[in-house]
C-alpha cells in the first residue's frame, strides 16, 4: 500500500497533498491539545512499537503468515488524533530511512493510511464500544481501514496510470478483503493479549462472536451475488481456449455451477447455493472447534 514516487500524476499529488497537509496540521494541533506534552515519548515509543510489531509473524494459513499493520491498534489505544500523528511519523520515517513509499507520494500515503485509515478504524470501534461490542468494532475497524485505504491507493494509481482493467480491480479487491480480515484478526488477538496482560479482562464476560461473523459472511455473500461477474474463471477460460473443456463429470454434482437448479429466480438460485455452502462450511468449522481439543487448535 506504500505508493512509491514516479507512479502518481501531478493533479493527484497536488490534491492529496493539500488534503494531507491540512489533515496533519489539524491532527497535530488536536493531538497536542488532547495529549499532554509528557505523552510525546509514548507516541514515539508506540510508533517504534509498530515497526517492531511488524517483525512478529502470525500464521494465517498453510505456509503463509501475516503481520500487524498497526493503524487500528493505535487508534483504539491512543485515540484518532494521536494515532494519525504517530502513523504519519511512521510513514515519514519509512520513506526517508527505508525507501518504503515515496517522498512526494507521502501526500497520498499519509492521506490513505494515517488519516483515512486511522479514522475508518476508529469510528466503528467507537460506535460499537458504546453498545459493549469493542472487539467486533476493532475487527470491523481494522478490516475497513485496510480495505478502503488500499482501494483508495489503487484508485489513485489507476487514475494516474490509466492501466488498470476491470479484472485486475476485482482481483485486487479480493486480495484487499483477505488482507483486511487478516489485519482484523491480528489486531483483535493483540488487543486481547494486551487486555489479558493489563488485567482489564478480569470480571468481564466475553460474548461469542461466531454468530456475528456468520451474519456478516451471509450479508457479504448476498451483496456479492449482485456484483459477481458472469464471465468464466481463469481455469475455465484456458480450458475453453485449449479445447480441453469437458461437460462430462464422473459424479452428478449437488449444485452444478454453484446454482440450486430447483429455483426459478436467477439471483435466488445463486444466492441460495452460496448460503447453503456457507452454512455447511460454518457447521463443519463449528463442529471441529467443539471436538478438537483447544491445545491442538493453537
Amino acid at each position: 500500500m506504500h505508493i512509491p514516487d514516479g507512479i502518481l500524476s501531478a493533479p493527484i499529488l497536488a490534491s492529496f497533498g493539500a488534503a494531507s497537509s491540512l489533515g496533519v496540521i489539524y491532527s497535530a494541533r488536536k493531538a497536542e491539545a488532547t495529549t499532554l506534552a509528557h505523552r510525546i515519548p509514548l507516541l514515539g515509543v508506540l510508533g517504534a512499537f509498530v515497526f517492531a510489531a511488524q517483525m512478529v509473524n502470525f500464521p494465517v494459513g498453510p505456509g503463509a503468515s501475516g503481520h500487524l499493520l498497526g493503524g487500528a491498534l493505535l487508534a483504539a489505544t491512543i485515540g484518532p488524533w494521536a494515532a494519525s500523528i504517530t502513523m504519519t511519523a511512521i510513514l515519514i520515517i519509512q520513506a526517508l530511512m527505508f525507501q518504503d513509499g515515496g517522498v512526494l507520494a507521502l501526500a497520498a500515503n499519509v492521506f490513505n493510511m494515517a488519516i483515512l485509515g486511522v479514522w475508518l478504524a476508529w469510528l466503528p470501534f467507537r460506535a460499537l464500544s458504546k453498545i459493549n461490542q469493542p472487539r467486533l468494532g476493532l475487527f470491523l475497524g481494522a478490516l475497513l481501514s485496510v480495505l478502503l485505504s488500499a482501494v483508495l491507493a489503487l484508485a489513485q494509481v489507476s487514475l494516474s496510470s490509466r492501466v488498470m482493467t476491470q479484472g485486475l480491480w476485482v482481483f485486487c479487491l479480493g486480495l484487499f478483503i483477505v488482507t483486511g480480515a487478516i489485519e482484523g484478526f491480528i489486531t483483535l488477538a493483540a488487543w486481547e493479549a494486551i487486555e489479558r496482560l493489563e488485567g482489564r479482562a478480569s470480571g468481564q464476560t466475553r460474548k461469542p462472536m461466531h454468530l456475528a461473523i456468520l451474519a456478516a459472511s451471509i450479508a457479504i455473500m448476498l451483496i456479492g451475488v449482485f456484483f459477481a461477474s458472469g464471465a468464466p474463471d481463469v481455469l475455465e477460460y484456458f480450458q475453453t481456449q485449449a479445447g480441453i473443456s469437458s461437460s462430462a463429470t464422473p459424479f452428478p454434482a449437488l449444485m452444478p455451477d454453484y446454482e440450486w437448479a430447483n429455483l426459478n429466480v436467477e439471483w435466488l438460485r445463486k444466492s441460495s447455493a452460496g448460503a447453503l455452502g456457507l452454512l455447511a462450511a460454518f457447521a463443519i468449522s463449528f463442529l471441529i472447534s467443539k471436538f478438537v481439543p483447544r491445545g491442538q487448535q493453537d
Binding site: 517504534a48 517483525m55 482493467t165
Partner: protein
C-alpha cells in the same frame, strides 16, 4: 561544502514535482531529466554501486503497473513507469546520503511541518532499534517454544511488546522530566542558511525548470 538540509529538501521536491508533471509515455523528456541525478551521483561522495542497486528496491511495485501496461500492448508506458520510479528513488537516496534523516526532519520543521509531528518522528527513530532488538529476542524465544504454528504465542508476544513499550515510555518520560523536559527538544546545532544555499537553490530550480519545460 555541505548544503543546508532545507536547500537539499527543496531541490529534491522540485525535482520530484518536475518528474511527476511529465505525461506517461514522454520517455525522451524523462531521459533528459534522468541526467540530473546521474550527474549528481558521479559528482557526489556517495557509494554509487550501492545506491544504484538500492534504488531497484522500488521496482517490484512499479513492475506490477508496468506489466499491466505491457499486457495491454503499451511498451512505452511500461518503460516510462519503471524508469520514472527508479530515477525518483535514486534522487531520494542521493539526498538521504548527503543529509541525515534527523537533518531532513529538522529541515521539514523549519519549512513549516508541525513541531509536534517532528518530535514524535525523532522519538520513533530513537526507539526503533531498541524495540526491534526486544522484538527479535522475544521472537527467538517464542520460536523455541514452537510459535511458528501458534497464533496464541504470536498474539501474546505482540501484547507483551506493547505493554513493555508503554512501561518504557513511562520510564523515558520520568527520566526526561528529571532533565527538565518541557514538551520540546532543544536543538544543539541550529541551521544556518548561507548565500551559497540561495545560489544553489536558484541554480538548481532554474536547471530543473529548463530541462523540464525548455528541453
Amino acid at each position: 561544502m555541505k548544503l543546508d538540509p532545507r536547500c537539499a529538501l527543496l531541490l529534491l521536491l522540485s525535482y520530484l514535482i518536475a518528474l511527476a508533471s511529465i505525461q506517461p509515455g514522454a520517455n525522451r523528456l524523462l531521459l533528459t531529466l534522468c541526467a540530473l541525478p546521474v550527474v549528481l551521483l558521479f559528482l557526489s561522495p556517495v557509494p554509487r554501486a550501492e545506491l544504484l542497486a538500492q534504488a531497484a528496491y522500488v521496482l517490484p511495485f512499479s513492475f506490477a503497473i508496468a506489466a499491466v501496461a505491457l499486457l495491454r500492448g503499451n511498451t512505452a508506458q511500461a518503460v516510462f513507469f519503471l524508469l520514472r520510479s527508479y530515477i525518483s528513488i535514486l534522487a531520494v537516496l542521493i539526498t538521504t546520503k548527503l543529509a541525515t534523516t534527523l537533518e531532513l526532519l529538522r529541515a521539514m520543521e523549519r519549512l513549516g511541518a508541525p513541531r509536534f509531528l517532528i518530535v514524535v518522528c525523532e522519538f520513533v527513530i530513537r526507539y526503533i532499534e531498541v524495540l526491534r532488538k526486544e522484538a527479535d529476542s522475544m521472537r527467538l524465544a517464542a520460536l523455541c517454544r514452537g510459535a511458528a504454528q501458534s497464533k496464541l504465542i504470536a498474539a501474546s508476544s505482540l501484547g507483551m511488546l506493547f505493554v513493555r513499550s508503554l512501561e518504557r515510555s513511562t520510564g523515558i518520560h520520568n527520566a526526561m522530566l528529571a532533565r527538565g523536559f518541557n514538551g520540546s527538544l532543544p536543538r544543539a546545532y541550529p541551521m544556518q542558511w548561507r548565500l551559497a544555499d540561495t545560489v544553489a537553490l536558484a541554480i538548481g530550480i532554474a536547471g530543473i525548470a529548463t530541462l523540464r519545460w525548455a528541453a
